[in-house]
Amino acid sequence: MATTEAARPIAVATTPHRRTRWRHVLTGSVVPRVILIVSCLVFLAPFYWMVVSALKTNTELAQFPPSLIPGAWAFNNFPDAINYIPFGLYTFNSLVITVGATIGAVLSNTLVAYGFSRIQWPGRNALFYLCVATIFLPYPVILVALFDIFGRLPSFGIQGAKSWVDTFLPLIVPAFFGNPFYIFLMRQFMLGIPKELSDAAKVDGASELQTFWRVILPLTRPAVIVVLILAAVAAWNEFLLPLLYLQSNDKYPLAVGLIFFTSEHDVSYNLLMAASTLIVLPVVIIFLVAQRFFIEGITVGGVKG
């Protein structure tokens, strides 16, 4: 399309089609820009409103019409929110779960993707299609059964629980068994690495594990970073699973801990928004720093983990 438009000025120079040219500028860049800028405002509004509400006093928050910029900047909402719930403890819990699940995701998905892409074995493609097909199944289907299964697995006293329920294990361990979306993403990447590299390594006497570790893994680094980031953000953002599995207040991650802000009759939405802002902040920072990895991740597949 771009070249079609670029070729146009020549036509304009020879025949006086000023009107057509003007129309082309309008439809080619003015109208799209208007649509895009308005949409950007809409997409940014929730984030903006969260931060602005976090900086308002409770009285100002309840005013109509709502102010677009806080009148009196209530910065003390942030320390107040941190003191309202055990914020430090919940941050620690969130970090443990996120780090654990991310390590699991990176380890398992690289290994599995290697097996699905760099080795030629009978039945490989059939199993891979089976793996990808499970992306479409809604996870809640197995929620009840998994809860019951984890409730019967001994935890050997981890986190003072009898079974896996009320420990971080159900939130971390499954990550070590791969995720079909990440496997798909990484396999696509590994398929792009020339086969000759593996062959050369094997001629030099490298075993399959050595080929994986020394040749393929270093070349897969961009895909590993994509999976690392997506898995970390997904674990940090997860709400339903910790809500189900964790029963003691002191084991909650931040996502579930926010519930305490709504537990009283009078909800302090400004404190809730302040706490939400703090939870969202690391995600936004990671996004700003590693934007291209996020975009690479979705244009391969198009879903979040």
Binding site: M1, C40, V283
Partner: protein
């Protein structure tokens, strides 16, 4: 060992006998995928079979399950809340998915024009997709407040009625649909990648043939984008059927109980959650899970079959 193995030509003794190299590759291949294979069986196949079993029992989560045949299914048939939850979920999905496709397509086409600052738009549209749904939902509780919310301020300024979004059962699900649209941004990027893959020559020759912009969109862009659109619909369907967090937060979550005015926010997974983890009816919840499993398989198959009529595979089909 490996060098020797690679140089040896596979002895094809019988048709199904594997050579040394193939046997070695099979061993390593299976070894590498074993984490997934174990997870697939232990955390996928087995739980699904176990769910089928539990659905035939009365089970509170304590003691052992008692077999009661298909009782849970007959109860479900007569349970108005089950129908309500199924209705709410389908209502939500049927609205959220097509709107999402249109929004994503519109944004992608706009980004595919002569706009140099496209990287900024991409970043802004993608951002809400990685923010946690629970946080976005809490913000929407504030945004949609009939007393002081921004949304109703804009509506009244435009001279439109200002509904009680979270208090009126006619509007609650629309709030869920709105929240879902924030995820359309990442699809816009997927669509944009698709649009950029369409060969320019197609548009050039169409223009020479005198096809207008709308005609070019209908005859070139749309057909070539159908595989991506199908992909969006299938994933959207799966995610739509499992919507939980936004509904849970908009109702005030655990503390207030219930599921919005007139149970209008009782989504299917919300109901499943209530039955299993608030009312302790694990057997009944398992039956609900089985129905969700079958419904999603049947719906996905129906969409694939329907798509045969309109998805264009560019002659790749044999």
């Amino acid at each position: 060992m490996t060098a020797a193995a690679t140089s040896v030509k596979p002895r094809s003794v019988g048709r199904f006998r594997l050579g040394t190299l193939e046997r070695r590759n099979l061993k390593w291949g299976l070894l590498f995928i074993s984490p997934w294979a174990f997870g697939f069986i232990a955390l996928g196949v087995f739980p699904i079979l176990y769910t089928f079993f539990l659905s035939l029992t009365r089970y509170t989560g304590f003691r052992s399950p008692t077999l009661i045949g298909f009782n849970n299914y007959t109860t479900m048939w007569n349970d108005p809340d089950f129908w309500k939850a199924a209705y709410n979920t389908l209502y939500y999905t049927v609205l959220a998915v097509p709107i999402g496709v249109v929004v994503a397509m519109l944004l992608a086409i706009a980004m595919n024009q002569k706009v140099r600052e496209v990287a900024i738009y991409r970043a802004i549209f993608y951002l809400p997709s990685i923010l946690p749904v629970f946080a976005i939902s809490f913000v929407f509780v504030v945004l949609l407040n009939p007393g002081y919310g921004l949304v109703n301020l804009l509506l009244t300024t435009a001279g439109l009625p200002s509904p009680n979004w979270l208090g009126d059962p006619a509007y609650t699900k629309l709030a869920l649909v709105m929240i879902a649209q924030l995820g359309a941004g990442q699809w816009a990027l997927v669509f944009l990648a698709g649009l950029r893959g369409i060969p320019i020559e197609l548009y050039e020759s169409a223009e020479i043939d005198g096809a207008g912009a709308f005609r070019r969109f209908r005859s070139i862009t749309l057909p070539l984008m159908t595989p991506v659109i199908l992909y969006d619909i299938i994933i959207g369907l799966s995610f739509g059927l499992q919507v939980f967090t936004s509904a849970y937060i908009l109702t005030g979550g655990a503390t207030r109980g219930g599921a919005g005015p007139d149970n209008s926010l009782l989504t299917y997974v919300f109901y499943l959650y209530q039955q299993a983890f608030q009312f302790g009816s694990m057997g009944y919840a398992a039956a609900l899970s089985v129905v969700l499993f079958l419904a999603s398989v049947i719906l996905a198959m129906a969409v694939f079959r329907w798509a045969r009529g309109w998805v264009f595979y560019g002659g790749e089909e044999a």
